[in-house]
């Protein structure tokens, strides 16, 4: 009985993942089309913008962008862990289930209604993204159940269909936007991490870290819920209550991530699966370690996105999709074989 989780083991793993994240963030902050000198960053005067170019690039451009990428990665990976647990489906993920598209549709609706995206930290846009994300979860859930059969497999199909439908509506909306805004909107929709002001980063960090912290408090119950609703009840877990809390929080942190970066797909799929292979399926460690390593994953993907065709930049969603698409297909093939053997 060597594999039961203890607080000491959990803390050790969290510290290891945190160290990996810090190393990745630091290394990626040194990479970019413009070479910078760390001694110049810290030793030369930098009181006003433009006085020390190395400082400006490192502190005012790259660090905020890397923090933003880390927040998006943490939110999407944690959301993937939670959705896979409550839907009992290893292929569930906020992008594949259409939750990200729902949140994006909310942001687009708010934008078309004239609410500026620039003040999102305190604007109704966050509320729009969250409401649309929650609405999408409900719609996917309802469609999946109406489709009959196993809710677990039909939910995935429902998510794919709703994702496609929302994507079409979003494209229709982009055609209504004037041509100057079009390119930036499309880049945002494809998952684009750009500069954000400090207050936006701080508000997002608080929302995402608080959301993941609350999810951690129900992570042991998520273990039980992966065995099904009836099993969960027999083991003293109220499945309706836990599912509701988990869905709401997963949708909330996804909505915050989409508000920051648009549609970044497959992070919630690739990261939890990789972490499960390393640390096992216990959600008490899977959730925090996936959040930390998801943060590192998106930081790396964003660094590739901003350097690979330098001086131009790719949307980070392109890089995560190029990595995540094949991983999804491999997992789908493995899952189909497993389900096949159970029948």
């Amino acid at each position: 009985m060597t594999d039961l989780l203890t607080p000491r083991r959990l803390i050790t793993k969290i510290i290891l993942c945190l160290a990996a994240l810090v190393i990745v963030m630091f290394a990626c902050s040194l990479v970019g089309p413009q070479k910078i000198s760390l001694s110049a960053v810290f030793n030369e005067p930098h009181d006003t913008p433009g006085q020390n170019i190395d400082y400006d690039i490192f502190v005012r451009v790259r660090i905020p962008r890397i923090i933003l990428a880390a927040l998006v990665g943490a939110a999407l990976a944690a959301s993937g862990v939670v959705l896979q647990a409550i839907l009992r489906n290893p292929l569930a993920e906020p992008y594949i289930l259409g939750i990200s598209s729902g949140a994006a549709l909310g942001v687009m609706t708010a934008a078309l209604a004239g609410i500026s995206r620039a003040i999102w930290g305190g604007s109704p846009m966050a509320g729009f993204a969250f409401l649309f994300a929650i609405g999408t979860v409900w719609l996917v859930w309802l469609t999946g159940h109406l489709a009959g059969g196993s809710a677990v497999t039909s939910l995935l199909l429902a998510g794919v269909v709703i994702n496609a439908f929302f994507s079409a509506v979003i494209m229709l909306m982009t055609s209504l936007i004037d041509s100057e805004q079009l390119r930036s909107t499309i880049m945002w929709l494809m998952g684009s991490i750009g500069e954000k002001d400090f207050s936006t980063l701080l508000a997002s960090a608080i929302f995402i870290i608080a959301g993941i912290a609350v999810l951690f408090t129900i992570s042991q119950k998520l273990n039980v819920l992966t065995f099904g609703v009836n099993e969960a009840r027999s083991l003293g877990v109220n499945p309706r209550k836990i599912t509701l809390v988990a869905f709401a929080l997963a949708s909330f942190i996804t909505a915050v991530a989409v508000g920051l970066s648009g549609l970044v797909g497959f992070v919630g799929l690739v990261v939890p699966h990789s972490v499960r292979l390393i640390f096992g399926p216990d959600h008490r460690q899977l959730l925090p370690t996936s959040a930390l390593l998801g943060a590192a994953f998106v930081v790396i993907c964003d660094t590739i996105a901003r350097t690979i065709i330098s001086p131009a930049q790719l949307p980070v969603g392109v890089i995560t999709a190029i990595i995540g698409g094949p991983v999804f297909l491999i997992l789908l093939s493995g899952y189909s074989k497993k389900v096949g053997t159970l029948r």
């Binding site: 009985m1 039961l4 009992r88 408090t217 992570s219 119950k221 009840r233 003293g236 399926p281 159970l342």
Partner: protein, 268 residues
């Protein structure tokens, strides 16, 4: 001996035309091994789901330790009743020890880590069910019989006075069927547990049970000691099949015979 489960005029239906159980009344004394038998569709699993609180009765009442089952919270009920369903492979690769450790969920504090008491209960359950030797292996890598033992270990680690089982030996070979029933009997004797098991195997039920609840397809039922309930006439009437019987002591065992079965007039 006091009754730990009391059922009074219980009725349940899945719709206006689908009444499954009606006016069912019986008491299960604490420490009893009860088997629920009957043909397909008689409502055995439905009754088990009612006794475990998963379904709500349409009429009548169920009391656990003299309190209505509806007065128990999900967590409190999980400290009184453990449920073992037919074995399955979970979606994620939890090890046998991790599965058994989930039994402690109703006892865990806010931080949700197992205490030394929890670990002792888990270790004892693994030892008693002979599952400790593969405790670190994923459940999906075990045989059906081994997996069922792990689920029984989980119910044992839940440390409840009542254990409900839904066809615990389905899909298992004879050796594993007997092994599971021996284990359940040991738990009844050594841990004074009340065992309620749904079964299709009336001969195993006759061998190991103290009491039998025989449900008929017509909503009728018989409840009592094994020798009172299991008679050739009643088994043939309830299951609609001819039987040969053999007696061991006071108990009878039944071999069903079909049209072309051995000893029938059409057999060659």
């Amino acid at each position: 001996m006091s009754a730990c489960i009391q059922v009074e005029n219980l009725g349940f239906s899945y719709g206006p035309q689908a009444e499954i159980l009606k006016n069912l009344s019986f008491e299960i004394p604490a420490g009893t091994f009860l088997s629920i038998a009957g043909p397909n569709g008689a409502g055995k699993t439905t009754l088990l789901n009612l006794l475990s609180g998963l379904l709500k009765p349409a009429s009548g009442s169920i009391e656990i330790d003299s309190k209505p089952i509806s007065s128990y919270s999900v967590r409190r009920l999980a400290k009184r009743i453990a449920v073992v369903r037919q074995e399955f492979v979970p979606v994620f690769e939890f090890s046998a020890a991790q599965v058994v450790s989930m039994a402690r969920t109703p006892y865990l504090g806010a931080l949700a880590f197992e205490t030394d008491t929890d670990k002792e209960a888990i270790a004892e359950a693994l030892k008693m069910t002979d599952t400790a030797r593969f405790a670190d292996r994923p459940l999906g890598h075990l045989s059906g019989g081994e997996r069922q033992r792990v689920f029984i270990a989980r119910a044992l680690a839940q440390q409840t006075p009542i254990m409900l089982l839904d066809e615990p030996t389905s899909f298992l070979d004879m050796k594993h069927q007997v092994g599971i029933y021996d284990l359940l009997k040991r738990m009844q004797i050594e841990k004074q547990k009340t065992i309620v098991s749904v079964t299709h195997d009336i001969n195993l039920a006759a061998q190991y049970s103290d009491m039998i609840l025989l449900l008929g397809s017509d909503g009728g039922y018989d409840y009592g000691a094994v020798s009172e309930v299991f008679s050739k006439e009643r088994i043939e009437r309830v299951f609609g099949v001819r039987t040969f019987t053999a007696a061991f002591g006071a108990r009878e065992f039944f071999l069903p015979v079909g049209k072309f079965g051995l000893g029938s007039k059409d057999a060659k």
